[in-house]
Amino acid sequence: MKEVRARAEGRKIGESLIIQTAVRILVPFIQIFGLYVIVHGHYSPGGGFQGGVILGASFVLLALAYDLKFSLTHMSERVNLIFGNCGALIFVGTGVLTALFGGLFLDYSALDKLIPLGPIEWRSFGIFIVEVGVGLAVMSIMASLFWDLSSDGELDEGL
């Protein structure tokens, strides 16, 4: 009994083998589902915001089951910020590009002059590009919000 208690006290609060193993198995599926929700937004409910939140939640789950450092080894702070900036830039850049090619702002059919796919196909494909940008930005901001708020900005201990 004493030995068990000593072992339990040596562990961090909330650390559990069952939860950690379950999370380790679940996280890849959650991330694939997030990608599916982003990519399949044209045909089913979903899109950039929802898929981005699911992707961000997978990192939050890692940080909850293990600790914050462990989730930072899977998605480093720097890469996360690059993803967030890229996501916002993809959206705004698509809009600027359409304006540069002679259309209205965010009128994707103007991109037909860049790669001739047909203006209607470009409107479909433009939505896809924009959704990917939204997904990247939302994923990185969700993870970064959790990291900062749970550790007071230190990014060391966390919950």
């Binding site: 044209h42 045909y43 409910p45 965010l106 479909s124 939505i127 919000l145 900062d148 900005g153």
Partner: protein, 91 residues
């Protein structure tokens, strides 16, 4: 003072509830919201954008400007939290 606030909120709530009585019925196809742009989107969105999901077509294409600034709002929220909370790592 608290009683005055209670009365004020009750009266405001009653006025708002009274106002809802003039609303069109739920899902009424003749309501102003359903006769202005919604019919255009329902009839033309699939031909114009080749996206079977009307919500995505409206969100990503017709209202792309709105969606762009939604993203920018989330981005700004993240940047604000980072700039307020995050501390530079000691070397």
């Amino acid at each position: 003072m608290k009683a005055l606030a209670l009365v004020a909120s009750l009266v405001t709530g009653a006025i708002l509830l009274y106002g809802t009585m003039d609303f069109p019925a739920w899902g009424d196809p003749q309501s102003p919201a359903a006769t202005h742009l919604a019919t255009y989107f329902i009839e033309n969105a699939v031909e114009e954008t080749h996206v079977p999901n009307l919500v995505t077509a409206v969100l990503g294409d017709y209202r792309g400007y709105d969606t762009m600034f939604e993203t920018v709002v989330i981005y700004c929220a993240g940047l604000a939290v980072i700039s307020v909370l995050r501390r530079s790592r000691k070397p």
